[in-house]
C-alpha cells in the first residue's frame, strides 16, 4: 500500500512537445543569428524572382513575407535571450552556455557519420542479382550487405554485447525487411 504521507506526484504540461522551450541565452543568440541569415537569404531570393503577372500573384510574395516575419521573430528571440542573460547577471547566476554533454555529442557525431556512409554506399554501390531459392524468387542487391555491415557497426558502437548476436540480429532484420518490402509489397529498395 502507498504510504499515507506520500505527496501526490505533479503532472506538468510543458507543451505538445516535451523539451521544447527555453534554451541558454547563448544558444538562443546563435539560433537567432542563423535564422536572420536564412531570412535574409530567402528575402533576397524572393526579390530576385521574376514577376510574370501582377505583384499580387508574384511567385516570391509569400516567401518574402514569410522570410521577413521570420527575421522579426529571430530578432524577438534574440531580445528574449538578451533579457534572460541580463537577468542572470543581475541575479549573479552561473549559466551553462551550452547544456551539451561532450561524450554524448561525440557519439551522436559518430552515429551521423555512420548514416552518411550508409546512404553514400547505397548510392555508389548499386548491383542487383536475381536468383531462385527453393522455387521462391529472391533478389540480392547492395541494400542487404550494406545494411548488415552498417547495423553491426552501429550496434558495436552503442552496445557492448557479443558480436555474433549483433551480426545475427542484423542479418535476420535485413532479410526480413527485404522480403516484406520487395516480395510482399513490391517496393524496390535502394542500392538495386
Amino acid at each position: 500500500m502507498a504510504k499515507p504521507d506520500t505527496p501526490p506526484k505533479q503532472v506538468i504540461f510543458e507543451g505538445e512537445e516535451a523539451g521544447a522551450g527555453f534554451a541558454s541565452p547563448l544558444m538562443d543568440f546563435i539560433a537567432s543569428a542563423f535564422l536572420l541569415l536564412i531570412a535574409a537569404a530567402f528575402m533576397a531570393g524572393s526579390l530576385a524572382l521574376p514577376v510574370p503577372g501582377s505583384l499580387a500573384t508574384a511567385p516570391g510574395l509569400l516567401p518574402f513575407l514569410t522570410a521577413a516575419s521570420l527575421g522579426l521573430m529571430a530578432l524577438a528571440l534574440a531580445w528574449t535571450a538578451w533579457q534572460r542573460w541580463r537577468a542572470s547577471r543581475l541575479l549573479a547566476t552561473r549559466m551553462a552556455p551550452f547544456d551539451w554533454d561532450l561524450p554524448t555529442e561525440l557519439r551522436t557525431l559518430a552515429l551521423a557519420l555512420c548514416v552518411l556512409i550508409y546512404i553514400s554506399a547505397l548510392q555508389i554501390l548499386t548491383f542487383r542479382t536475381d536468383f531462385v531459392l527453393g522455387g521462391f524468387p529472391l533478389v540480392l542487391s547492395a541494400f542487404e550487405p550494406v545494411t548488415i555491415v552498417v547495423l553491426v557497426v552501429i550496434m558495436s558502437l552503442f552496445w557492448r554485447g557479443p558480436l555474433w548476436i549483433s551480426l545475427t540480429i542484423s542479418i535476420v532484420w535485413t532479410v526480413f525487411l527485404s522480403l516484406v518490402f520487395r516480395n510482399m509489397f513490391h517496393v524496390p529498395l535502394p542500392g538495386s
Partner: protein, 497 residues
C-alpha cells in the same frame, strides 16, 4: 456505410488492420518511439499497398500506437509516447501496489471507449463541417492554413510559442522550394533539377521524427529498464461502469481538442487529466497522483478520442489535426486521395470507408492490446543499442519508397540532422511538418485571393465574414504569444537559463 464496414471486415483488410494495430501497439509501447514516428516511417510500407489497405494499415498503426504508450508508462515508469505521462504517474503507482494488470486493463477499456467517442463524434460532425467547409474559398483557406501553423506552434511549446512559430515558418520556407503552382517559376532551386519537383514532405517527416529521434536517443546513456510483473489484465465491468461518465466527458474533450489543428494527444491527455481532477469526488481526488483509476480513464480516453477528432479537420479541410494526422495525410496523398471540402464528390464513399476502418481498428485494438502486453514486457528488456539501429533501415526505405529516389534519402538525412539540431536548441519539430504540408496550400490560395481582391475595396475583404473571424482568431493567437513572450517564465530557474 454497411458496404464499407463489410469491405473493412474482408479477410485481407482485417489482416492488414491487425498488422497495423499490432505494430502500432508494440511501437507505442517502446520508450522513445512516438506515434508520429510510427506513422511517418510506416508510410513507406503503405506505399506498396492498395488504397484501402493503406488506409486500414495506417489507421491501425495510429490507433494502436496511441494506446501502446500506456504499457511502458504503467509497467516501467517510462511513457512510450508523451501523451502517456499522466497514465505513467497514476499507473506506475498502482503497479507498485501489485495492481499493474488492472491499471493496464482500465487503460485498454478507456482507450476503447475513447476510440468510440471519437468515431461517433467524427461521424456526427463531419457532414456539418463539410457543408460549412464548402463556404471556404481561397482567402479563407489561406487564413485557415496560417491558423493551423500558428496554433501548432503555440501548442507545441507551452511557455515560448515564438519557437513553435519559428519552426512552422521554417517548414513553410522548405515548402517554397521548387516550381510555383501558378506560374511554374523555379523558386530557390539553385539550378538543381532534382529540386524542381520541390521537397516532398514524407522524407522531411521521416527525417524529423525518425532519424532525429535515433540521433537523440541512441547516443544518450541510459540504464536498462526492468519491467515489473503483470497480473490479470481484463478490468472488471463494475469498475468500467463506475468511471463511465468521466470516460465520456474526457472522450468529448479529447475529440474537440483533436479537431483543433496543431493540438494533439498530449494536450488532450493533460487537459482531460486536469479537468478530471477538478471534477472528481473529494475521495477520488485524494488518490490523484498516488494511483487513481479515474485519472487513467481521463487521460487514456482523451488521447484515443483525439484520433477521431484529428480526422475532422484532416478530412473536411485538408488541414491535419496533428503531426500524426499529417503523416496519414501524406499516406493518403501517395494514394492520390486529395482530402478537403470536396472529398465526398472527388472520392465517393471513401469517407464511410475511413469510418469503418477506424471502427474495425478500434475493435482489434481492444483484443490485440490484451494479447500483446506480455510480449511487450519482454521487449522492454531489449537494450536500446540493439533496438534503435534497427529503425534506421526503415527510415531509409520509407524515404526512398515515395519516389524511388536516393535524393529523397538525402533530404531525409538533412531533415534528421536539422531536427536533431532543433531539439538541441529546444525548438519543437511538429510545427515544421505542418508548415511544410500547409505552405503550398497557403501560397496558392493567398495569390488567388489577392488576384480576386485586386480591384476590390477593404470593406469587401472585411465582408468575407469567415475570413474576418479567422483574422481575429489569428490576431488573438499572436497577441497571446507576444504576451507570453514579455511575461516572466513560470519556473524561476528558467529565467536564468
Amino acid at each position: 456505410m454497411l458496404d464499407s464496414i463489410l469491405l473493412a471486415l474482408s479477410p485481407y483488410l482485417l489482416l492488414v488492420t491487425t498488422a497495423g494495430v499490432c505494430l502500432g501497439i508494440i511501437w507505442g509501447a517502446l520508450p522513445g518511439l512516438s506515434t508520429t514516428m510510427a506513422m511517418g516511417l510506416l508510410i513507406g510500407l503503405s506505399a506498396g499497398m492498395g488504397q484501402n489497405s493503406a488506409i486500414c494499415f495506417m489507421l491501425g498503426v495510429y490507433t494502436g500506437s496511441v494506446f501502446g504508450g500506456a504499457i511502458s508508462a504503467v509497467l516501467i515508469n517510462i511513457p512510450g509516447t508523451p501523451d502517456a505521462v499522466p497514465t505513467m504517474i497514476e499507473g506506475h503507482q498502482l503497479a507498485q501496489r501489485g495492481e499493474g494488470g488492472q491499471a493496464l486493463g482500465m487503460a485498454i477499456a478507456s482507450s476503447f471507449i475513447g476510440g468510440w467517442v471519437g468515431i461517433i463524434l467524427l461521424v456526427a460532425f463531419i457532414p456539418l463541417l463539410l457543408t460549412f467547409a464548402l463556404n471556404f474559398r481561397s482567402w479563407e483557406m489561406f487564413l485557415l492554413a496560417l491558423t493551423g501553423i500558428l496554433v501548432a506552434g503555440t501548442m507545441s511549446t507551452g511557455e515560448m510559442p515564438l519557437k513553435g512559430w519559428i519552426s512552422g515558418w521554417l517548414g513553410m520556407l522548405v515548402a517554397f522550394v521548387g516550381l510555383d503552382a501558378i506560374h511554374a517559376t523555379p523558386r530557390f532551386t539553385f539550378g538543381t533539377f532534382a529540386l524542381f519537383d520541390g521537397i516532398s514532405y514524407v522524407p522531411v517527416l521521416i527525417g524529423l521524427f525518425g532519424l532525429a529521434e535515433i540521433l537523440r536517443t541512441l547516443p544518450s546513456p541510459s540504464a536498462p529498464t526492468i519491467p515489473s510483473g503483470v497480473d490479470r489484465v481484463v478490468p472488471p465491468l463494475r469498475m468500467i461502469m463506475k468511471y463511465f461518465k468521466s470516460a465520456v466527458r474526457s472522450g468529448v474533450l479529447g475529440t474537440v481538442i483533436g479537431a483543433i489543428p496543431g493540438a494533439g494527444a498530449n494536450v488532450a491527455s493533460f487537459l482531460s487529466y486536469d479537468i478530471g481532477r477538478r471534477r472528481a469526488s473529494p475521495e477520488e481526488r485524494a488518490k490523484w497522483g498516488k494511483g487513481s483509476y479515474e485519472a487513467i480513464v481521463c487521460a487514456e480516453t482523451a488521447n484515443n478520442a483525439n484520433i477521431g477528432g484529428s480526422m475532422l479537420p484532416t478530412l473536411a479541410l485538408g488541414i491535419p489535426g496533428n503531426a500524426a494526422a499529417a503523416a496519414l495525410l501524406a499516406a493518403l496523398t501517395l494514394k492520390n486521395v486529395v482530402v478537403g471540402p470536396t472529398i465526398e464528390t472527388d472520392h465517393p464513399g471513401l469517407i464511410y470507408f475511413i469510418y469503418a476502418a477506424l471502427v474495425v481498428a478500434n475493435m482489434i485494438m481492444y483484443v490485440a492490446a490484451l494479447m500483446l502486453i506480455r510480449p511487450c514486457v519482454r521487449l522492454f528488456s531489449l537494450p536500446r543499442g540493439i533496438l534503435m539501429p534497427l529503425i534506421l533501415p526503415v527510415c531509409i526505405i520509407g524515404a526512398y519508397s515515395v519516389k524511388l529516389s536516393i535524393f529523397d534519402v538525402w533530404i531525409m538525412f538533412a531533415a534528421g540532422i536539422f531536427g536533431w539540431l532543433m531539439s538541441r536548441f529546444k525548438f519543437p519539430v511538429a510545427p515544421m511538418v505542418l508548415g511544410v504540408i500547409l505552405a503550398p496550400l497557403a501560397d496558392e490560395n493567398l495569390r488567388r485571393s489577392l488576384f480576386i481582391f485586386e480591384d476590390k475595396s477593404w470593406a469587401y475583404v472585411a465582408s468575407q465574414w469567415i475570413g474576418t473571424v479567422l483574422i481575429i482568431f489569428i490576431a488573438l493567437v499572436i497577441i497571446d504569444g507576444i504576451r507570453r513572450l514579455f511575461s516572466k517564465p513560470s519556473d524561476p530557474s528558467k529565467a536564468a537559463l
